[in-house]
């Protein structure tokens, strides 16, 4: 069952997982936009990632789940080159990005929202957005149609356009951070806990935004603690524990299998 689902969803997991076979992985890799193979990451003396194998299928929304300290954030930072992989390989759209510097990786049309949102507190919301629009020299040169779309999804961005971002509430900052990642068309959005600290109404807007992005062919990789959010949005899921991906498959399959949820996450969806 698992094998069939994984072939259909295009998600593969590492050799350490009993759920995957070589054929399924090969089939999955065919549609992969991002692929990690045996990635190890050390931070100082600490060995955080112990051979992460993960495939993010093109055009889908992949949820990266796991307990605190499982290695989710480290995985995202390693993909972005903020921490260098000590071993293994990361490929984006068939291109090896393992040793690339962060700006080079970003230039491959990858947007990243870190766990702390990465908002420039002393800059206005407009300036934060302008930084993400690399081709624009000023706000007037930004893609106005895209900006209006972002305003519709996140009204707070327009409302506080000229306000210092540091003065916004946590939820508003989160909206700005996600909106900033959408300021220009990107192939892959990597977002660390997008729903963290958000009110239900805003979570609804964010789900709508991700849905629309997905429909436009954008691939998303989200780390999420909010299981309901993950279930509502995710096409595919990878669960991490102790610096490894221990399960990968379709979100629908995980949502249906309570025993597996309890085993992997310690709770049911």
């Amino acid at each position: 069952m698992s094998m069939v689902l994984m072939t259909a969803t295009g998600l593969s997991v590492g050799a350490s997982s009993p759920l995957v076979g070589r054929e399924a992985r090969a089939a999955a890799s065919a549609g992969a936009l991002l692929e990690l193979k045996g990635v190890h990451t050390h931070i100082g003396a600490y060995h955080i990632l112990h051979g992460v194998d993960l495939t993010v299928p093109k055009g889908q929304l992949t949820m990266l789940l796991g307990r605190n300290g499982a290695g989710k954030t480290t995985t995202l930072r390693t993909i972005m080159g903020l921490w260098q992989a000590s071993q293994g390989q990361i490929a984006f759209d068939g291109r090896d990005i393992t040793r690339m510097h962060t700006p080079q990786i970003a230039h491959l049309n990858i947007a990243y929202v870190p766990e702390n949102m990465g908002i420039f507190a002393d800059l206005t919301v407009k300036e934060n957005m302008l930084l993400a629009a690399r081709k624009a020299g000023n706000a007037a040169q930004m893609d106005q149609a895209r900006l209006q779309w972002i305003f519709r999804l996140f009204p707070a961005v327009e409302k506080f356009w000229n306000h210092p971002a540091g003065k916004l509430s946590g939820g508003q900052k989160q909206m700005v951070a996600v909106a900033r990642a959408m300021a220009e068309p990107r192939d892959l959005l990597i977002i660390d806990e997008p729903s963290k600290g958000l009110a239900p109404a805003i979570i609804h807007n964010m789900i709508e935004a991700f849905d629309q992005l997905k429909q436009s062919g954008v691939t998303l990789l989200l780390v999420e603690q909010n299981i309901h959010f993950a279930q509502r949005l995710g096409d595919t899921v990878a669960v991490m524990d102790n610096g490894r991906v221990v399960h990968a498959g379709s979100m629908a399959a995980l949502a249906e299998d309570e025993a597996l949820q309890r085993k992997l996450l310690g709770l049911s969806l």
Partner: protein, 326 residues
């Protein structure tokens, strides 16, 4: 609505000036000292503005910044010396026509040496504060020795151009012409910096990089390249400050950079690391304090600026306008 202006630090400069007025007694002496303090402060600001951005952007402690000051001043002695006919003229425009190329050449040389300094001395020790302190101090010592090799160890006079000498009389107060020139140049540099930082994309990147360089990189910008640009610009500004300082002192010595270094660090700590506005306020406070205490209690002149820094840090532990969170 932009960020509301934090006006309290702005009040410090006039407050300090007004507080000392009763102690000085004579308004004309007070005016002379105040203009001298503002001129000195503006020159220190020109020197410190680049250093504070270097510190804020890349967390680099560059104790070798002083070498660019001395270098700029020594280069100016050569340029101005070669333009004796122009500096000796009583016409101000001819004086300015001599000083301007001296400033530009000094900035170009200091900027070029800054580029090499960053590449060979600073870059290998990114993220290692202790090594940064040691190696940049070493770089300054080497720089000083090279200046001695080229220009000799002795003090070299750097006389003011004829038209900038003397004073204007405002009532009983004598205001030296050159000090007014120094204030004007300082204001121009500040205006240019403020415009660049607030109105251009490069300025936006610098301000963002001072706050969170990792995120700037994640947005696709090469912070190292930006940093090199800021380092070179900061070195060039130190060279310009060296010309101004040399003309202020009317002589140059190879150790002049090291002598000013302490004041520069006091200024950027008072101002808040990474803040050019804070550096301006810090520099003006330091300049005024040095002149007032030099007149009132000369024996505590040096100590006074350290005491000023302590008082400011007790009020705002991260400086008057903190930007970089280190």
């Amino acid at each position: 609505m932009n960020r509301p202006l934090d006006w309290k630090p702005l009040v410090l400069v006039p407050l300090l000036a007004l507080l000392v007025l009763p102690f000085i007694g004579s308004p004309s002496t007070w005016l002379t000292l105040t203009v001298a303090g503002l001129a000195m402060g503006m020159i220190i600001f020109i020197i410190a503005s680049g250093l504070t951005l270097v510190f804020g952007l890349m967390d680099v402690l560059n104790f070798g910044h002083g070498v660019f000051i001395a270098l700029g001043a020594f280069v100016a002695t050569g340029v101005l010396g070669a333009m004796g006919n122009w500096t000796g003229s009583a016409e101000l425009w001819r004086n300015l026509a001599a000083v301007l190329p001296a400033m530009l050449v000094a900035m170009a040389v200091a900027g070029a040496v800054g580029l090499a300094f960053e590449r060979f001395i600073v870059r290998p020790v990114y993220g290692q504060h202790l090594k940064q302190i040691l190696i940049t101090m070493g770089g300054m010592i080497i720089g000083e020795e090279l200046i001695k090799v080229i220009w000799g160890p002795a003090q070299i006079p750097l006389p003011l151009p004829q038209g900038m000498r003397g004073s204007w009389l405002l009532g009983d107060a004598a205001v030296e012409k050159y000090r007014v020139v120094a204030v004007l140049v300082g204001l121009m540099v500040f205006a240019l910096l403020a415009w660049t930082l607030s109105r251009t994309k490069v300025g936006l990147l610098i301000r963002a990089g001072v706050q969170d360089r990792e995120m700037v990189e994640a947005l696709g910008y090469r912070i190292r390249r930006l940093f090199v640009g800021v380092f070179v610009a900061g070195s060039a500004l130190a060279g310009l400050g060296g010309v101004m300082w040399g003309l202020y002192q009317q002589s140059v010595v190879p150790q002049m950079g090291a002598q000013v270094n302490v004041l520069i660090f006091i200024v950027i700590i008072i101002g808040g690391l990474g803040s050019t506005g804070g550096a301006l306020i810090g520099a003006l406070l330091v300049g005024l304090m040095a002149n007032y205490t030099g007149f009132l209690v000369p024996k505590v002149a040096l100590f006074s600026n350290i005491a000023l820094m302590v008082v400011i840090l007790l009020w705002r532990p991260q400086g008057v306008y903190p930007v970089a969170n280190r």
